[in-house]
């Protein structure tokens, strides 16, 4: 009888421990996503000012600037994998824009532009870091709910597998195509 009670208590302790463990992991996951979201929003806020500043100098990059503006608007209203694809494309376009600054000496001489460029580079790096952090948190969370026997409890309590923040190739291509159509 006493063995049965001890076993039952041990199982109960394991269930409580596992449940709390899943909750902690899930909260960390939400926190990581929120941090990444903050960084992405910071980038949305930077873009209008950036476009406004460079517009007068980079007349030959009109298409690129339009693409950046359009991608920003779309990324702000999208969600899930489509948003991830848009964010990816936005990062790519912004990197191209930063690389092209070199060809415009008058831009490099502007203090305002230098400040904007530094902020943008830093934000891009922070986005990359927060994305890596989110994906790492996802990996730890998924491992926690998929290993045996925790997976049985996880499914019982409704913990489901989380997705990584990475755009699928197909979605990335869709972003490219939509621009080609616009052009």
């Amino acid at each position: 009888m006493s063995y049965a009670i001890i076993s039952l208590l041990l199982i109960l302790a394991y269930v409580v421990f596992s449940y709390n463990h899943f909750i902690k992991k899930r909260n960390k996951l939400k926190e990581a996503y929120a941090t990444m979201d903050v960084m992405l929003k910071k980038r949305y806020d930077l873009i209008p000012n950036l476009v406004k500043t460079v517009n007068q100098y980079m007349i030959h990059e009109k298409t690129l600037l339009e693409e950046i503006t359009k991608l920003r608007q779309e990324a702000m209203v999208c969600s899930g994998k489509i948003r991830e694809a848009k964010e990816d494309a936005l990062s790519e376009r912004l990197s191209t824009l930063i690389a092209r600054f070199e060809s415009y000496p008058e831009l490099k001489a502007s203090d305002n532009m230098l400040h904007l460029q530094r902020t943008l580079v830093k934000t891009e790096e922070y986005i990359g870091a927060s994305r890596r952090n989110y994906n790492s948190t996802v990996r730890l969370y998924n491992t926690a709910i998929q290993v045996f026997p925790a997976n049985m409890l996880a499914s019982l309590f409704g913990f489901t597998k989380a997705g990584y923040f990475e755009a699928l190739e197909e979605e990335k291509n869709n972003v490219e195509l939509s621009f080609r159509k616009d052009e």
Partner: protein, 339 residues
């Protein structure tokens, strides 16, 4: 115990200069150093006068000792013993005095050498034979080895002339603690190597601590750390195998430890027991079992002055190479000093 010993035995002993290729001093530097030695400058005349004065004083002391040594022939055995004690004391006194004078001379000579180096670069360079990076800065990282006694030396500091900001600092460092074993006091060396401080190009708020001591990975091995920082598991399996990262902000840690930076750290610090700290805009690197050449100039010896100059530039060049290899610094502050 065997496990820890096996961990330690795998650590590589190194020489800071192994990182750099051979080089020759620039013609201007050579000329400036030769001017010091040949006594063309006021500074070297002053030192020569000082040395001459000490030599005279020493001759006088020796004469007095010689006179004293004759006294026992006239008096008793007790006096012989007393005289012998005086002779021994005088011998050690003279030795101490000579060492003190020589060290003072070498310190002044090193100051002159460093001034020549500083005058030929865009930076202010400071050197101190008996000081180093502050203990408080070493102790910032709770993962650092126990350091009840902290003995830095060979301190080199590079300060930007325009910003007045310290760009690079390096020193040799010995840390140890002592304990009583029965009636005997025993000393345990915890760190003997090189400690570097390099201005980091990225801004960050939170401290990040890194160690190569894998035994600290488990909760049990992380004794005394408390809630100061959590372990951060990074994406690179190779980096994870060699280093343990602790910090409070995993995003900021990844902002600093980019994949490229992790790869460079791994490449440069492979097989070396080291501790890294990111604190208040600086990267601190403690390389255990690392050495430098400790060459000091000798009185009036031109060759030794040139060797000492070469040595101090090699020291700076090695630190510079390390900073450049990690893409922390781009400008070369030793570029005008060598051929």
């Amino acid at each position: 115990m065997f496990f820890f010993k096996s961990l330690i035995s795998r650590q590589k002993e190194g020489h800071l200069y192994d990182w750099i290729s051979p080089f020759e001093l620039s013609v201007q530097i050579k000329q400036a150093i030769e001017e010091i030695v040949s006594g063309k400058t006021d500074e070297s005349f002053r030192i020569k006068d000082k040395i001459e004065a000490i030599k005279k004083q020493n001759k006088l002391i020796f004469a007095v000792i010689a006179l004293l040594s004759l006294l026992p022939l006239l008096y008793s055995l007790e006096l012989i013993i007393v005289t012998f004690i005086i002779l021994i004391a005088a011998f050690f006194g003279l030795k101490w005095r000579f060492t003190k004078v020589l060290t003072s001379y070498q310190k002044t000579a090193m100051d002159q050498i460093v001034k020549v180096i500083s005058d030929h670069t865009d930076n202010n360079i400071y050197f101190n034979l008996e000081k180093g990076i502050l203990k408080e800065e070493f102790k910032v990282n709770p993962l650092m080895p126990r350091s009840d006694s902290y003995e830095p030396s060979w301190h080199v500091k590079v300060v930007n002339k325009e910003t007045h900001q310290t760009d690079i600092e390096a020193c040799k460092l010995l840390t140890y603690y002592t304990y009583q074993d029965e009636n005997e006091s025993k000393r345990v060396t915890t760190f003997l190597g090189i400690f570097l401080k390099i201005k980091f190009p990225k801004e960050f708020q939170e401290d990040i601590y890194i160690t190569t001591e894998t035994w600290r990975r488990g909760a049990g091995g992380f004794l005394g750390f408390g809630s100061k920082a959590d372990r951060i598991v990074l994406e690179s399996p190779l980096f994870e195998k060699k280093f343990n990262v602790f910090g409070n902000d995993p995003v900021e840690a990844r902002y600093i430890l980019t994949l490229d930076f992790m790869e460079k750290l791994l490449e440069k610090l492979k097989d070396i027991r080291c501790y890294l700290t990111f604190h208040k805009g600086y990267l601190y690197v403690a390389l255990d079992k690392f050495t430098i050449e400790e060459i000091l100039p000798q009185v009036g010896d031109k060759e030794s002055y040139l060797v000492a100059t070469h040595n101090i530039i090699a020291y700076m060049k090695a630190v510079e190479y390390f900073a450049k290899a990690l893409s922390i610094r781009e400008n070369k502050f030793t570029k005008d000093l060598i051929l």
